[in-house]
């Protein structure tokens, strides 16, 4: 009790002049509220961005460019009265929602509140600065990917024919995913697509790692898929910063299947749009592109079918034309052949008769010559024989018994046989002597 009493006494008696904390904070507030801290443009990076009750809360930080160490940090607020207008303007200019990780140039007024302490109230923002920073950062990433030789890898992958089995990296229940699926399966061509959702966080700081993990799950069964679609609902909720990530870009660039990116952004692009095999603006457009590609395959088949039909009917009609030509030709040719044959026969006939008659004439000439010769030969022969006969006749006439008898000779016969020896004549025989003229019969007296 006593000490307590002493303390009280001591405090009352020896305490220096003090002011209340409220007084102190009001002094600070007064000091802070200076023209040098009012409506100043500052550059900083946004962290811990959040919207509550229409007001927008964040930390503005300044980091060492080399080490990443935080050099300065200040709470900042955008009041609900200005946030929608500022956000729309920023979004329209950058294609990017205000979000953690962005570098911004903002007009702030530093304010000190007795309870909440020091903070900056943001009244304006320069989107050009953020744009420049995003582009700068993206360009650095692109350069790094190029230096590593992986920048073009996904883009140079051929799209398989057909591209029908699509592994989808998206968020479950996301509007963009629904649009994609609807567009893919309600295609009027009834293309046979197969899809499976490989879930990933598509926004915020966790997005890149989550998407890389989803890509890893697809890569583990890459044989099952033709391509990958990275899709995310678009519109005002877009958040490009989380996709402008080197790790993610590197995985997409080196992914073994072609990747189509439709992350719902109309105005600007992310690094993924540079490295992916195909970029479109929205999930719907991604589905349309895939449908169009498969549809082109169908068209190609239809074209082949048409050309096949034409080739077959050309071949058939060509051959049947050829056949009917031959058909028409056969009677003509046959008639021609028989005419020619007839003509030939006639020719042969003519020439044959000519030849034949020539020969006959020649033969006839020969024959007649021969008959003359024969006649001549015959007459010669006849004449010769006649001459010979004449000679013989003359000789005969000379040698004939009559001629001998006329020369005085006579023939003596006994009983009809001529007598050439006296010994053949017995006594008493009757001799008949023939003279040239007449006969004498005598009887032998003595032999």
């Amino acid at each position: 009790m006593e000490s307590f009493g002493n303390f009280q006494v001591e405090e009352v008696t020896s305490s220096p002049q003090a002011i209340s904390l409220r007084e102190l904070t009001s002094i600070v507030a007064h000091l802070v509220s200076d023209s040098s801290t009012r409506d100043r443009w500052v550059t900083a990076e946004i962290m811990d961005f959040a919207v509550r009750g229409g007001h927008c809360y964040m930390e503005l930080v300044d980091k060492d460019a080399d080490t990443g160490k935080t050099l300065a940090k200040l709470r900042a607020i955008i009041w609900a009265s200005v946030y929608p207008r500022m956000s729309a303007m920023f979004c329209a200019a950058t294609g990017q929602q205000l979000a953690s990780g962005l570098k911004v140039m903002v007009k702030v007024t530093v304010n000190f509140h007795s309870v909440f302490g020091i903070s900056a109230v943001i009244s304006d923002i320069d989107p050009g600065y953020t744009m420049g920073d995003l582009v700068r950062r993206r360009n650095m990433m692109i350069q790094q990917l190029k230096d590593e030789g992986i920048y073009d890898m996904n883009r140079s992958l051929p799209w398989p024919d057909p591209t029908l089995r699509i592994a989808v990296v998206s968020a479950r229940g996301a509007a963009g995913y629904g649009d994609f699926i609807h567009q893919l399966y309600s295609n009027p061509l009834r293309l046979r697509f197969t899809t499976r959702l490989f879930e990933a966080v598509m926004q915020g700081e966790r997005a890149p790692a989550s998407m890389v993990a989803a890509l890893g799950r697809i890569a583990a069964e890459a044989d099952e898929w033709d391509a990958v679609a990275i899709i995310r609902g678009g519109g005002a909720t877009s958040d490009l910063v989380s996709l402008d990530n080197y790790e993610l870009a590197s995985h997409v660039a080196q992914f073994p299947l072609p990747v189509i990116v439709g992350v719902g952004h109309e105005r600007d692009v992310t690094i993924l749009d540079y490295v992916a095999g195909m970029r479109v603006k929205t999930p719907t457009a991604a589905a349309e592109w895939l449908v169009g590609r498969a549809g082109a395959q169908l068209d190609g088949l239809r074209d082949i079918a048409t050309r096949l039909l034409r080739a077959v009917s050309d071949t058939l009609s060509g051959n049947s034309r050829q056949l009917s030509f031959y058909q028409g030709q056969i009677p003509v040719l046959a008639a021609g052949v028989s005419q020619r044959a007839a003509a030939r026969l006639q020719r042969y006939g003519v020439s044959l008769s000519a030849v034949a008659s020539g020969r006959i004439v020649r033969r006839l000439d020969g024959l007649s010559a021969m008959s003359d010769k024969i006649a001549m030969a015959v007459s010669t022969r006849v004449r010769t024989h006649a001459d010979r006969l004449d000679a013989a006749a003359t000789l005969l006439k000379v040698l004939s018994p009559e001629a001998t008898l006329k020369r005085g000779y006579s023939i003596t016969r006994i009983d009809g046989h001529s007598v050439t020896s006296a010994e053949d004549v017995p006594a008493g025989a009757t001799l008949v002597t023939t003279l040239a003229s007449g006969t004498i019969t005598s009887t032998v007296n003595q032999s």
Binding site: P160, L189, L197, Q297, G300, T315
Partner: protein, 77 residues
Amino acid sequence: MDTAKTPVDKLTYTQALTELETILRTLQSDSCDVDRLTELTRRAAALLSHCRSRLTATDKELREILDSLEATPQAGE
């Protein structure tokens, strides 16, 4: 690779397409043998039908696919 002897349903889409184009070239060439016309046309028709069926789904299949897609999120949530 010559796939003319391979059954159609054993071919990949690309193989079938390549063979189709080969047949087409044969049919369009002057040296197409009429004796082979029927055989080639039949093969081409089978290849075309194979490729088409790879590309397109029947109504029943489409319904099944859509049903399974609608069922998945509900089961997960």
